[in-house]
């Protein structure tokens, strides 16, 4: 088995054994979205109007929640040192951890999104668009987040710093992700938001693992 597959499998084992982390993300997603429903009030038309944006914005915040721990635990217990010395290319190691993060957090958001959207009165014709856009957008969130998590490693109040660093980078994903869902709601669906989301994914896939690996090496010094 390659180093990439070994690290991925171990990360998933660790995630399964501490499944509380994933449940926290889903619970946060559901509660944050329901705050909007309560805040806007019982007007179902307004809720339906804002639902695509709200689902995306809260999914984004939920993804951010778990990012702080992406490298922090391995940094604190010395695992990161050992991973850097294991002979595996650091960018491949980062990518394995990012894929594991997406398989736990991103997929959990995908599964929970329809229920959350239902609570926000998202029109029925937009659900497939929501799932497709989230499937294409959430890997980018994990990749960009890995760079932020690596850069803020070891910093005091790293969590706040991480949000300030990563949330602005999430804006393009939010805009085009919400646009994809909005198009389906209004019945004017086009492929262009998906094309942009796909482009963002390819771009972050080619840049983020190397950027995060460089930031991690710097943090270890």
């Amino acid at each position: 088995m390659s180093g990439f597959a070994l690290i991925l499998r171990r990360e998933l084992t660790l995630a399964v054994r501490s499944h509380g982390d994933v449940m926290t993300v889903i619970a946060f997603f559901a509660i944050a979205a329901s705050l909007f429903a309560f805040g806007v009030g019982p007007d179902l038309n307004i809720q339906a109007r804002i639902s695509s944006g709200v689902v995306w914005a809260t999914a984004l915040l939920a993804a951010l929640l778990s990012l702080e721990r992406l490298f922090a635990l391995d940094y604190e217990d010395g695992t990161l040192d050992q991973l850097f010395l294991s002979g595996i290319e650091p960018a491949a190691m980062v990518l394995a951890k990012v894929v594991a993060h997406w398989l736990t957090t991103g997929v959990a958001l995908l599964v929970a999104a329809p229920a959350v959207a239902l609570g926000l009165q998202l029109p029925a014709q937009a659900y497939s668009a929501l799932i497709a856009a989230l499937a294409l957008g959430t890997p980018t969130l994990s990749l960009l987040g890995a760079v932020g998590a690596a850069l803020t490693l070891g910093a005091r109040r790293g969590g706040v710093l991480l949000s300030l660093l990563v949330l602005p980078l999430y804006v393009p994903v939010l805009i085009f992700g919400a646009a994809a869902v909005e198009g389906a709601v209004l019945g004017i669906a086009t492929t262009s938001p998906y094309a942009v989301l796909g482009g963002l994914l390819v771009l972050s896939l080619t840049l983020c693992p190397w950027a995060a690996a460089a930031a991690l090496r710097h943090a270890l010094e």
């Binding site: 180093g3 171990r10 010395g78 050992q82 010395l85 010094e221």
Partner: protein
């Protein structure tokens, strides 16, 4: 493992200097190590023993000077350098949610060592009866033994150990001495930071006080 023997190699550092937190920790430090040789780092707290070990591992970068393996600069291929060394620092890298065996098996597979190497390392460090115990219930000394077992099973040519005798009991100390002797016997190298009595009586000593920067007049 018994038939393993390392090809002759040469690990050297020339004119190394390192800075931490804006302060020069050591300067103009040189060393040279050949197959089957060991080097013991000595010096008071803060003299840079840990820093030098991390520098030798390629985890930290020197301010100046160069590290070479068989004449080739270590910095040119850090993953390859990492693959030929085993490192046990102050942190034990034991995952609380994984059993001792799972902890070790991951690192063994990552380095291409087989299941047999894990069993041998567990036995060598008196961990066999703890193999299925999760990392979270281990004592500090037991966790440290897992870290040393990871180095032993790595089949690495160079061992970098930071105060390996810390928190070890009599039996584990004996196991460590045996592992060190075996490593030198098969042509491996050891660099070890140590305070107390030497685990390697015949090893060369590098006193970091000799490389401390001259104190500036206040």
């Amino acid at each position: 493992m018994a038939d393993l023997h390392f090809a002759p190699a040469d690990f050297s550092g020339t004119d190394l200097a390192c800075r931490r937190g804006g302060r020069i920790v050591f300067a103009s430090l040189s060393f040279r190590l050949r197959s089957g040789e060991a080097l013991v780092l000595r010096g008071p707290n803060g003299s840079g023993k840990t820093t030098l070990l991390r520098l030798m591992a390629g985890l930290a970068r020197p301010l100046s000077g160069r590290l070479c393996w068989n004449g080739a600069a270590v910095a040119d291929d850090l993953p390859a350098h990492g693959a030929r060394l085993g490192f046990a620092g102050h942190l034990d890298a034991v995952k609380p949610a994984l059993s001792v065996r799972e902890n070790l098996a991951f690192w063994a597979r990552l380095r291409g060592a087989g299941e047999a190497a894990v069993v041998r390392a567990l036995a060598a460090f008196g961990l066999a009866h703890l193999a299925e115990v999760p990392g979270r219930v281990l004592s500090a000394g037991q966790r440290h033994r897992v870290a040393l077992a990871r180095v032993a099973l790595s089949e690495a040519a160079l061992w970098l150990l930071d105060e390996p005798a810390n928190t070890l009991d009599e039996a584990a100390l004996g196991a460590l001495k045996a592992a060190l002797a075996a490593q030198l016997g098969r042509g491996g190298m050891i660099v070890m930071a140590s305070h107390g009595e030497s685990l390697l009586p015949n090893a060369a000593t590098l006193d970091l006080r000799s490389a401390a920067p001259a104190r500036e007049a206040a």
